[in-house]
């Protein structure tokens, strides 16, 4: 592939978040007092490092030689032809080491942990991709690693659990509450509050208390920086629409952020519609949630009239989360991005289509973004869609086989 020069300057017309970590009314820092000091320290360290040439070089070298970046931008010709509308380009994040974009964030945060001299990292994980990505960087840097994972997800994602263990991480099943990602995050917060002196908490998405939504976004933004440069280099123009799935929203923020100043580029996030928005059985807070506070930030949240956080549903463990990154809430409210939802069934159909027509096995999370493409590309002749193919679906094979009634 031709040499790719990416522009890593943040969008000029859009300076978010504020000093206190607010994106409009969203974001902020809603945590136990014990954690404030660590968050201040992390924010300060990151502010000093993010433009430091040595840090950037170290990060770049890891991304190039350990992760295998840049990832390709790929024209999905058969899919484009069969949908008969927009040209569909896939940003191949499934080709990252470990199989998803998540490792770009964990590499960045592990380098921060190393500079803080913390010998231990912890993480929460839903689908297991972030857990795998954390276990990977911990193994590489020789850090102790504990990963919290809802018991339900431990069963749903057994392959990733075993991968983490192979890399020396300790996977701790969480049995409280709904036994999924949100409870894993609660448990990770409890661990961190108890071990804050020697432990760095690698949050895996653009949520959590400030500075996490900002720093996870920044580390994930390599996706959009590359994709933007590749569109200009390979296609000669920017896409009309950028589309990505949204659970916590890190892959979407990563691809959206470098396009925010490009007013002609529409940004579309696709949430997990589960059994359908009208059923209430989904994980789509931007479509059907209310403003609330959970896990350190203010954002849209699926909760009841008493403020209790409700259990969510998605076929995809990685999207099965009641909250969403605060920057997405802000982008929704200012109208810069729009947020759709795809049901389990639509995502499954798109999953099968990409397998059959492109020979690519997408993650079930990613398949939600593809479902939007399947629905909308036919109505967009002459236009160009850029899809964040955020991860590969090897981890989901057992789930899919199960849906098909097949025991492997």
């Amino acid at each position: 592939m031709a040499e790719l020069t990416v522009d890593s300057t943040p969008p000029e017309g859009y300076a978010q978040p504020t000093q206190g970590g607010h994106f409009g009314q969203f974001g902020g820092r809603f945590v136990a007092e014990t954690l404030t000091h660590a968050l201040d320290g992390l924010a300060e360290l990151y502010a000093g490092l993010k433009d430091d040439p040595e840090f950037k070089k170290e990060l770049h070298e890891d991304l190039a030689h350990f992760v295998g970046r840049p990832t390709p931008l790929y024209l999905a010709e058969r899919l484009t032809a069969s949908l008969g509308g927009a040209s569909i380009y896939l940003k191949r994040e499934d080709l990252n080491h470990t199989g998803a974009h998540k490792v770009c964030n964990t590499i960045g945060q592990a380098l921060l942990a190393k500079r803080m001299g913390k010998p231990r990292v912890i993480a929460e994980t839903g689908a297991g991709q972030h857990g795998v990505a954390t276990a990977t960087v911990a193994a590489r840097l020789g850090l102790a690693c504990d990963v919290y994972m809802g018991e339900e997800d431990v069963h749903r994602q057994s392959l990733n659990v075993y991968r983490m263990k192979l890399m020396g991480a300790n996977v701790i099943p969480v049995t409280s509450g709904s036994k999924t990602l949100k409870d894993a995050m609660n448990e990770a917060m409890r661990d961190w509050v108890s071990n804050v002196d020697n432990t760095h908490y690698i949050i895996g998405t653009v949520a959590g208390p400030h500075p996490y939504p900002m720093l996870v976004r920044d580390f994930a933004s390599i996706i959009g920086q590359e994709a933007r440069a590749q569109m200009l280099q390979q296609v000669g123009k920017l896409p009309d629409v950028v589309v990505a799935c949204v659970g916590g929203g890190s892959n979407a923020m990563g691809i959206f952020h470098p396009f925010i100043d490009d007013a002609d580029v529409a940004l579309v996030g696709v949430e997990a519609g589960g059994h359908g928005l009208h059923t209430g059985s989904h994980a789509a807070p931007l479509n059907d949630g209310k403003v609330g506070v959970l896990h350190g930030n203010r954002s849209y949240l699926i909760s009841d009239d008493d403020g209790q956080v409700l259990e969510t549903h998605s076929v995809s463990a990685g999207l099965d989360y009641p909250g969403v990154g605060p920057e997405h809430a802000y982008l929704k409210d200012i109208g810069r991005a729009t947020y759709a939802a795809a049901t389990d069934d639509d995502a499954m159909a798109a999953f099968r289509m990409l397998n059959r027509q492109e020979g690519i096995l997408p993650a079930l999370e990613t398949s939600h973004a593809l479902a939007w493409v399947v629905e909308n590309a036919p109505k967009m002749p002459g236009q160009t869609i850029l899809v964040n193919l955020s991860g590969r679906g090897d981890k989901d094979i057992l789930t899919v086989a199960d849906i098909d009634g097949i025991t492997l």
Binding site: A32, T34, T36, R190, S194, V293, D305, Q308
Partner: protein
């Protein structure tokens, strides 16, 4: 940011600390989760805590995601929610308690999302007879607006200070203190580990130089002995998880109230000794 008007202020919390100080006594602050282990336990439990020697009552607002709690209070939250608890019912319980006790301060403790979900919380809490609010996940920077709204109805927001809180930050928190200042005695979740009395003494000595607002210490105080040791360095001690566990292990309301009264009495004696 609001400033504390005087050392004590005007409400029940201030009056209680003033009375205790004049008697040369330290405050015993107790915590139980509202609606746990059954809806009918809470009001009798509150009265028996007072009868056993508690001076201020903290009542936990059950929340689906109590991210700073240890196992005992997590389980209490789950039980209470399974019993159908809501913030509105917590307020009803406070109002019922107030029918026969108009003196003992009641402080609600919980997570911000519960309070955000009730638009007229300040008015309703005030009418029910609530005197203070502790929000586990609300640091000073994010809480100014809520503190103002509650001050207008004479409810104190009680801020927490942790072992990791820097001196500069502790000064900010102390200058906005109302009701009392809650020193979190260990890095961890509620009810966890064991606290180091020397470290608590050192931090509370520093906090003392910052404010005259009463200083209470909580997290990890399980027995009379620790309560006594800690109370030497504070105006009050807070006991929670141990009492919550005791209630969970009680078969019915009479058993729970008898055990709460005895346990509180033992801690009271320890502090007064």
């Amino acid at each position: 940011m609001t400033e504390a008007d005087s050392t004590f202020g005007a409400g029940r919390i201030a009056q209680q600390f003033e009375a205790l100080r004049s008697q040369g006594k330290k405050a015993l602050v107790t915590f139980v989760t509202a609606g746990d282990p059954g809806l009918d336990f809470t009001v009798p439990a509150m009265h028996s805590l007072v009868a056993g020697g508690a001076n201020l009552l903290e009542l936990g607002i059950p929340f689906s995601d109590p991210e700073a709690e240890g196992p005992a209070i997590q389980a209490a939250n789950e039980r209470a929610l399974a019993n159908g608890m809501t913030l509105a019912k917590v307020l009803d319980m406070v109002a019922e308690f107030r029918q026969t006790d108009s003196v003992t301060p009641v402080i609600l403790m919980g997570y911000l999302n519960s309070v955000l979900a009730m638009a007229d919380f300040p008015q309703r809490a005030s009418q029910a007879g609530v005197d203070g609010l502790i929000m586990v996940n609300l640091p000073l920077e994010e809480g100014a607006e809520l503190q103002r709204a509650l001050k207008a109805v004479n409810i104190d927001v009680v801020w927490l200070v942790a072992p990791t809180t820097s001196d500069a930050r502790a000064r900010d928190v102390a200058s906005n203190a109302s009701g009392f200042l809650y020193y979190v005695s260990l890095k961890g979740t509620t009810g966890s580990g064991s606290l180091a009395v020397d470290e608590v003494a050192e931090r509370t000595r520093y906090l003392r130089t910052l404010t005259d607002v009463p200083l209470c210490v909580g997290f990890g105080i399980k027995d009379a002995e620790t309560a006594r040791a800690v109370s030497e360095h504070a105006d009050g001690v807070i006991v929670g998880s141990a009492l919550v566990q005791l209630m969970a292990d009680s078969a019915d309301v009479p058993a729970a109230t008898a055990r709460l009264r005895a346990a509180t009495g033992a801690i009271r004696q320890g502090i007064d000794a």
